[in-house]
């Protein structure tokens, strides 16, 4: 199975006057058509950096200093601004971390959807509007709300509008960067159900980013766990759930109390524990890659 998106040794640096921070460090991962790849890890580990690098949306002081990103064989890093504009959204669409804020507050949501069609499909406004109505139906929002401004919608509705927009051109890859972080559990679940439904219907691949392991396990086919810009473990969801090898992954998984079963004492990652010198991934079982780590992980209980 040839990959839809291939990220190879991607290095993204944030260069400031004093130092260069590696936001993503030699990240290699690929997504097959129709696959849902989860990227987990705590805040600041570089998840968004990878996602934005794929779309080439990172701004100064960020730069991609090494690696390759291939989308269906095409080198994303070599696209001209013009090519990139055409490729974006048509092939790869994205739902941002704070979808609450990713709608232009002074523009009606209808117009923001229409923008997509008029730009990419050169449609007339009325045709685009019809498409917009179709999209609203797709995410089960009353099309009358096309004339609403973003602030007039609830957080969940806004998020759904953004998802609808992401599906507008039936892209082959959808990047979801923590699409539900700011939402209520109840709404969160509805949104995820929606995404799953759309994915089944439209068949796109998904790069799904979150720090919530239980969400991730529920949704993804394969999961990559990131730490300090590196991927420390990459495995199918089912494998990871029971057989995580890397100490950090284990700590992550151990940090979630369960809603059912007996109450057991959990230990999290101790304050101040750090992994350094994370090596390249090694395949420990078919499809299960782990970065070697000789550091003993300090956990809460170990004190």
């Amino acid at each position: 199975m040839s990959a839809l998106l291939e990220i190879e040794d991607l290095v993204v640096e944030y260069v400031s006057d004093e130092r260069a921070v590696r936001g993503a460090d030699r990240v290699s991962v690929s997504i097959a058509p129709g696959e849902i790849l989860g990227l987990a890890g705590e805040s600041g580990c570089g998840k968004s950096t990878v996602a934005n690098a794929v779309m080439r949306l990172l701004k100064d002081p960020a730069r991609i200093s090494a690696g390759a990103i291939r989308f269906d064989g095409q080198d994303v890093l070599r696209m001209s601004a013009q090519q990139l504009r055409e490729w974006r959204w048509r092939e790869t669409a994205m739902v941002f971390q704070s979808a609450m804020n990713s709608l232009n507050p002074v523009m009606r949501i209808g117009d923001q959807i229409i923008d997509i069609f008029t730009t990419h499909e050169r449609m007339s406004r009325s045709a685009a509007r019809a498409e917009a109505v179709r999209l609203m139906d797709l995410v089960r929002i009353d099309p009358a709300r096309l004339s609403a401004y973003p602030h007039q919608l609830s957080g969940g509705q806004r998020q759904r509008v953004v998802i609808a927009m992401a599906c507008a051109l039936r892209p082959r890859l959808l990047i979801l960067d923590e699409p539900t972080t700011a939402l209520d559990v109840v709404v969160q679940q509805e949104i995820l159900a929606q995404i799953r439904e759309l994915q089944q219907e439209l068949g796109f691949s998904v790069l799904f980013i979150t720090h919530d392991m239980s969400l991730m396990l529920e949704l993804s086919d394969r999961i990559g766990v990131m730490y300090a810009g590196r991927i420390v473990e990459l495995a199918p969801a089912s494998v990871l759930k029971s057989g995580a090898r890397h100490a950090y992954t284990q700590a992550l998984l151990g940090a979630f109390p369960s809603i059912s079963g007996p109450r057991k004492h959990l230990v999290g990652l101790a304050e101040g524990s750090r992994f350094t010198d994370i090596g390249d991934l090694v395949e420990v079982a078919p499809g299960h890659f782990v970065a070697p780590s000789d550091v003993e992980l300090r956990t809460e209980g170990g004190r």
Binding site: R56, R63, I64, R78
Partner: protein
Amino acid sequence: MATTQTALMATAPRNPRGLVRLLRNLGRNGKAVAGLVIILLFVLSALLAPVIFPEDPSRILDGGATPPNGEHLLGTTAKGQDVLALTLWGSRASLFVGFTAGLLATLVAVLIGLAGAYFGGVLDDLLSLATNVFLLIPGLPLLVILAAFLPPGLGTVIVVLTITGWAGGARILRAQGMSIRGKDYVAASIVSGERPLRIMLRDILPNMASIVMTTLLGCIIGSIGAQAGLEFLGLGDSNTISWGTNLFWATSDGSLMLGQWWIFVPSGLAIALIAFALSLCNYAVDEITNPRLRKPRRAASASAPTLVTIGDAGRESRS
């Protein structure tokens, strides 16, 4: 005006540690250093004026206007006064009034802004009403009327400038204060039983250091300019030597018509320079609190794709 606008947008500093850090950062900012150097030069020359020109610079002599020459580096006025001496001496009153009125206006702004933000309710309603009214009433006309009925003198000018100058700052400070008031650490202080005054002074105020700073700088700029305007209109105290009165005398002696540029350029330039220097500091404060405003290393349009610099040899492509 510029400063009010930018101050409005200045966001809360990322790692504010109050004034100390702000000042330390100012020392590293090119704009701020340039501004501070100019201000320092002016302050220095103001302090040294009596040493350099011990004579009363306003003493009227028979000389008549002479262009710059070896004896009078900036020439003399129609009354035979040395222009350089007038300009240096003038900086004393101008800076004094500007800084004092600026400080007072800021103080009023801080008090009113903080009180409104902290206590809220009816007090806040009243204070913001007053603020908005003062903000809307055109300043200069009000200044003109106020200046006309109070006895002349620096005191009056300071009072008048304070009365008309505080509102803009108060509004910004209130807005900022409101947002800090809503922060959990203020709630935490309340829960630990701190008194309101202490919360205002120790919890809220230090976190507004940069805004207080921009307000202060803005008020000083405004005061210096407004003072000059008043004096130019003959509404200041024509006895004090200041840049504004220098210009007032320059016009009333007709130096503009006579093309005696050396009489009216120095004071105008001095006002502009000090205001410019203060603005530089102000923009520097903005840049420090909002690093995005800093000059980027390379020119780029806001929607340019991520820079790709594969191969460290510098084969950069922007494609």
